[in-house]
Amino acid sequence: MAVVFEKTKMLTDTVFHYCPGCNHGIAHRLVAESIEDLGLEDNVIGVAPVGCAVFAYNYFNCDMYEAAHGRAPAVATGIKRVHPEVCVFTYQGDGDLASIGTNEIVHAAHRGEKLTVIFINNAIYGMTGGQMAPTTLVGQKTTTSPYGRSEEWCGAPIKICEMLSQIPGCYYAERVALNSTANIIKAKKAITKAFRYQMEGHGLNIVEVLSTCPTNWGLSPVEAMKWLEENMIPYYPLGVYKDKGAE
């Protein structure tokens, strides 16, 4: 029988710990497939965050680091400066990258570090059980914004692609979502491009992936997809924010 599809060898056989309906699984697969598509299987180091993807080192089948909360871009910088020829990526959530780790990501971008950053934005702290994230939408209820996020009290949700694309050292920034087949295909292209640019000697490359968290949003997987479309995409418009390679 002809094999028409195989799981990418860049993912181990370890069973994901992610909740049903969570988009991390799709994102992991797209990252792993992109690495394999580019022939980087034996020339890649990944850096996992603190957050729901904390165990990513068990899933990506390559040399992996587990970084302290928010510090993945600094850790990746240290790796890349020793091994400039190796593909280095970070995989970070919104608490990690957009809150505690803003200093590290902003300066990695300013230095134009030749890295690929996969940024999962699900508007909530998943692993600690649904607290308000810097990306939590105004009015969104979480365990630390039980009355809904107040803009007056907490400020507006942070827009990472918009912010990083202003930095001269940022080479490529695109926001994608995983809510439809068409968008997943677009996301795959963006992630592959972010890896390709790095290997062509460019940086910093970031793909922001809008992602669902059915468990902490209190919605079914299908309702969560709908919530993402109706609430997140209007505030976090999809598209290319910066692409120096296309200029």
Partner: protein, 357 residues
């Protein structure tokens, strides 16, 4: 051997390079800024990497990244900056990575002062960050010793896969002394030896590298901690370094480290000329601490008291008391950080102790 007159900070930086260090990540802070300055000029000359990080937090995490590849990597800072690095140091220790961290101590707490201090003894020797871990801690008392200890520091870090801290004080880094530099070592990472290190070849290695300090299962964390503790016991058994000075016939045994030990030696030399014998145990490794050696010196026949001298409120004093174990009187003389004691003050203290012995 040709003597060169060098400033401590520059000599330390050059010694690190000659010990094979090719990666330096740091951030400016007085009184250690000459180390990153020197590195920024020197690393490009030898094909190494100097990178000024966005913060001490960034710098120590860059060290974590580079150390995980098996490279010889250094960061340096001074007290408030070293406090910021503690998160990363705990992760590095837990991930069993070799690296060297310089702390050019200044007066504290808080912003403190920019003059020499020794107030980070607890932080350096008792952990500093969270969790059960130890750094090997070297405390040079001269620029030459700082130079000599840099290669020892990198070798020790590699030998035990454990971070090493070198604590100097503002004085060591800021003064100039005639020194002899070692030969240049061209350190190459050998991935057949450092099989744990990340080089990107995860697919073709027998086992891919996972640089990690997360052990979510109790049994797994127990195993890590037992492995770490076993390493610490081996280090304690094999790596204690100290200097014994003028112990023969001593009435009082002093304890002091770093610059303060040198000043104490001056007081000891002065008293010797007056016919009074005072000895000194100078720990060169603050961890592991020379408990046994100090104990034996403190209870030797003829010794009537121990005097610990420090540039803090009495931090090493706790280890001195543990070493002496109540078997000898222990007194303390010190100033808070940035207020360097003089040989005369120490001499006076020793003479006043002698009156009541």
């Amino acid at each position: 051997m040709a003597l060169t007159l060098m400033k401590g900070s520059e000599a330390i930086a050059e010694a690190a390079i000659r010990a094979g260090c090719r990666y330096f990540f740091g951030y400016p802070i007085t009184p250690q800024t000459e180390i990153p300055e020197y590195m920024s000029a020197r690393m490009p000359e030898i094909g190494g990497c100097f990178l000024q990080a966005e913060s001490e937090v960034g710098a120590i995490n860059m060290v974590y990244g580079a150390a995980g590849t098996g490279a010889r990597v250094l960061t340096s800072s001074s007290s408030p900056g070293v406090s910021l690095k503690q998160e990363g140091i705990s992760y590095i220790a837990a991930s069993e990575l070799p690296c060297v961290i310089m702390n050019v101590m200044r007066g504290g707490p808080g912003l403190g002062s920019i003059q020499a201090g020794q107030g980070d003894y607890f932080q350096a020797t008792k952990g500093g960050g969270h969790g059960d871990y130890h750094l090997v801690v070297f405390a040079p008392a001269s620029v030459q010793e700082a130079i000599d200890l840099m290669s020892v520091a990198f070798d020790t870090a590699d030998k035990y896969r454990n971070p090493v801290m070198v604590v100097a004080d503002g004085m060591i880094c800021q003064m100039m002394e005639p020194v002899v530099l070692p030969e240049m070592q061209d350190y190459k990472i050998d991935y057949s030896v450092k099989t744990w290190a990340a080089n990107g070849r995860g697919m073709s290695k027998p086992q891919r590298a996972i640089i990690n300090s997360l052990y979510i299962n109790t049994e797994d964390l127990d195993m890590l901690n037992e492995r770490l503790q076993a390493t610490y016991r081996v280090i304690e058994a094999n790596e204690v370094r100290y200097e014994a000075y003028n112990l023969e016939g001593a009435e009082i045994v002093c304890t002091a480290f770093g610059t303060v030990a040198r000043i104490t030696k001056s007081a000891i030399d002065d008293l010797k000329e007056e016919g009074i014998n005072v000895g000194l145990i100078r720990p060169i490794t603050l961890w592991p601490f020379p408990y046994k050696q100090l104990h034996d010196a403190a209870v030797a026949p003829g010794v009537k008291a121990v005097l610990d001298v420090e540039l803090n409120a009495g931090q090493m004093l706790e280890d001195v008391k543990l070493a002496v174990n109540g078997e000898q009187k222990v007194d303390f003389f010190g100033h808070y950080g940035s207020h360097m004691p003089t040989p005369e003050e120490i001499k006076e203290k020793l003479l006043s102790m002698r009156e009541v012995l």
